[in-house]
């Protein structure tokens, strides 16, 4: 039963990944043909098999797939407008009309959660995509060029890493202004450093590889060497990190909105919904107010964490602690 579901979704996940990245997994496969020719595509089959066999990873994949589908079709299936307030019908418990009840403004909480899902997925994917772009570029330049480039980029990484993440995001969002875009800007500004470091390390190690020398000897320029030979081989751990980061970004946005920063107050964002439920935390019969968004966030981050763990374990079974 698992095979048909599993064959589709991983391909989807790869497609979203490769759309954001220059070389993508196909290039990675062709890039590995020189040193690992004997294993070639078999290596990817192995990775996929290990992933499919990992039950937790498959659960995560199912969750992530559902979330992405909900994010896409959300507004067409929600029973109510997520923004529509009905002050005559506030704080209703869950019922047939309102599956998750209504919130303090009389909005349908189920529709709000679905809208929040759309927002979370959108911000998560965009932020991670932009962070990848910046991190990969700077990391590749630092690792490949070395010298002054490396030193300058390393200092920038140090400066940005000096901000405790949430504190840094607060400063940036407040400087850029309210709304969803400033949240993305802030999370990207604080999200690229680890990608850059990882890429730098990988590129540094691969720079001296024989196939890079071979490519240079047949006259390939730096650009081609980095794009076609170095990055595709360096990218696997970077992609795993990026995937881990989607959950982190979603939590970061929710944390910011919980504090009242970024996403406007009338948007049914998950963190915002929880902060609006705070006065009712200890009120009998109102637990749906915080339970629904809290569960939504927990399930989402767990889903992404399971998939990321599965990716890491199947890419490198040694990391699991060996057999």
């Amino acid at each position: 039963m698992t095979t048909p579901t599993s064959a589709g979704p991983p391909a989807d996940a790869d497609a979203t990944g490769s759309a954001l990245l220059l070389p993508g997994p196909d290039a990675a496969a062709s890039g590995t043909t020189v040193p690992l020719g004997a294993r070639g595509s078999g290596q990817f089959a192995d990775i996929r098999r290990r992933f499919v066999r990992n039950r937790l990873a498959m659960v995560g994949l199912a969750i992530v797939t559902v979330l992405i589908v909900l994010a896409i079709i959300g507004p067409y299936v929600t029973p109510y407008n997520a923004f529509e307030q009905n002050l005559a019908n506030t704080l209703q418990p869950p019922s047939a009309d309102h599956w998750f009840g209504t919130d303090v403004l009389g909005r349908d909480l189920f529709s709000g959660i679905i809208y929040g899902c759309r927002l979370a997925i959108l911000v998560g994917l965009l932020t991670v995509a932009f962070s990848l772009l910046i991190g990969l570029s700077l990391g590749a330049v630092a690792g490949f060029k070395g010298g002054a480039w490396d030193a300058v980029i390393a200092r920038f990484i140090d400066i940005f890493l000096a901000f405790p993440p949430l504190v840094g995001a607060i400063v940036i969002v407040r400087a850029v202004g309210g709304g969803v875009t400033p949240v993305i800007v802030a999370l990207v500004a604080l999200g690229w450093m680890t990608t850059a470091r990882l890429t730098r390390g990988q590129v540094l190690a691969l720079r001296e590889a024989e196939y890079v020398e071979a490519a240079r000897s047949i006259g390939a320029d730096n650009r081609r060497i980095v794009m076609r030979h170095v990055l595709p081989n360096a990218i696997a751990p970077v992609l795993v990190y990026a995937f881990t980061n989607i959950g982190v970004v979603i939590v970061a946005m929710a944390s910011l909105s919980y504090l009242g920063i970024g996403v406007p107050p009338d948007v049914p964002e998950w963190g915002r919904l929880i902060s609006q439920a705070t006065p009712f935390l200890r009120v009998e019969g109102k637990s749906h107010l915080w339970l629904a968004p809290a569960l939504a966030i927990a399930i989402t981050t767990l889903g992404f964490a399971f998939v990321a763990d599965g990716m890491r374990d199947s890419l490198d079974p040694k990391l699991r602690g060996g057999n």
Partner: protein
């Protein structure tokens, strides 16, 4: 060693200067707090007097230098709202945050190390699976979800003070600190358990462990002394980073539990756009974070000579 420390110190100072300048720029871009808006009309002469009083009429670089100079003397200005010296607010909040950080770290190292060691030693047993599953769940669930669940179900019960706080009841600090510390500790403990399990499994395969067993040491001694000591390095690094973040204030957790540390101070300042407090707390967080990572690095180099030579 001296050269390593000196290099690390210079680096820390440069990073702090750059970061404080970024914070300063970002806050300056917030706009003029004495400008007239739709809600309030500010007479121009009063606005001018206030700008002069708070030093906002000077050019940006001068403001930054003045600010750094004042900070070095422990003067963080007065807040926009009630004109209290920000340094006093910080002085009141910092000890609470430090207490919270230390209690949280003690809880999470204890739980994390014990759970990790058991999981590694009894690999694939029921306990290993339990630790791994709980750790994965705990890492996946955001801290404020845990906090909110605890406030809704546990606060106000037994030794735990109720949230929202009543101003009439004074609660001793160790009762106050319990729930937020536990909330913070859950996720860190999960990370530590994972790190500990991984590095312990690695170490248990090492030759010196086989030697220790071969010469007839008790299993307790092999695990407790030889294996544990050598698998603590990643845990020490993690605790260092975590301590840095916690000393800078656990904004979300402190806010959820209305715990009077620097994090809660910051979140309240954000709500009413109180820039002097925001800048002071952010600078404090960054400095605490950078200094503690520096100290951890130096300690680390002390323990492991490969690092200071590399």
């Amino acid at each position: 060693m001296a050269r390593f420390i000196a290099r690390r110190l210079v680096q820390a100072v440069l990073v702090i200067l750059a970061a404080t300048f970024l914070i300063f720029l970002a806050t300056f871009a917030l706009g003029d707090p004495f400008a007239s808006s739709g809600e309030k009309a500010v007479p121009p002469d009063i606005a001018e007097a206030n700008r002069e009083k708070f030093g906002l009429d000077k050019p940006l670089p001068v403001q930054y230098l003045l600010y750094v100079g004042n900070m070095l003397r422990g003067d963080f200005g007065i807040d926009f709202d009630q004109h209290r010296p920000v340094s006093q607010l910080l002085e009141a909040a910092v000890p609470n945050t430090v207490r919270l950080a230390i209690v949280a770290i003690i809880i999470d190292v204890l739980i994390g190390v014990i759970a990790g060691v058991i999981a590694a030693v009894k690999r694939y047993s029921f306990w290993d699976v339990l630790v791994t599953v709980i750790a994965t769940l705990a890492i996946g669930i955001p801290v404020f979800v845990i906090g909110v669940v605890l406030v809704a179900n546990v606060s106000g019960w037994g030794p735990f003070p109720s949230v929202p706080r009543s101003f009439t009841v004074q609660v001793p600090w160790y009762q106050e600190v319990l729930l937020p510390a536990f909330t913070l500790a859950i996720i860190d403990a999960a990370f530590i358990a994972r790190l500990m399990r991984g590095s312990m499994l690695e170490v248990l395969r090492a030759d010196y462990i086989r030697t220790a067993r071969a010469k007839g040491l008790s299993e307790r001694r092999v695990i407790g002394k030889h294996a544990m000591r050598n698998s603590m390095i990643p845990v020490v690094t993690y605790v260092g980073v975590s301590l840095g973040v916690l000393f800078g204030g656990a904004i979300i957790t402190e806010t959820i539990f209305q715990y009077n540390g620097v994090g809660y101070l910051l979140s309240r300042a954000i709500v009413n756009s109180n820039a002097p407090i925001i800048i002071a707390v952010v600078v404090f967080s960054v400095v605490a974070y950078v200094l503690i990572s520096m100290i951890v690095d130096i300690l680390y180099a002390f323990l492991d000579p490969r690092i200071r030579l590399g």
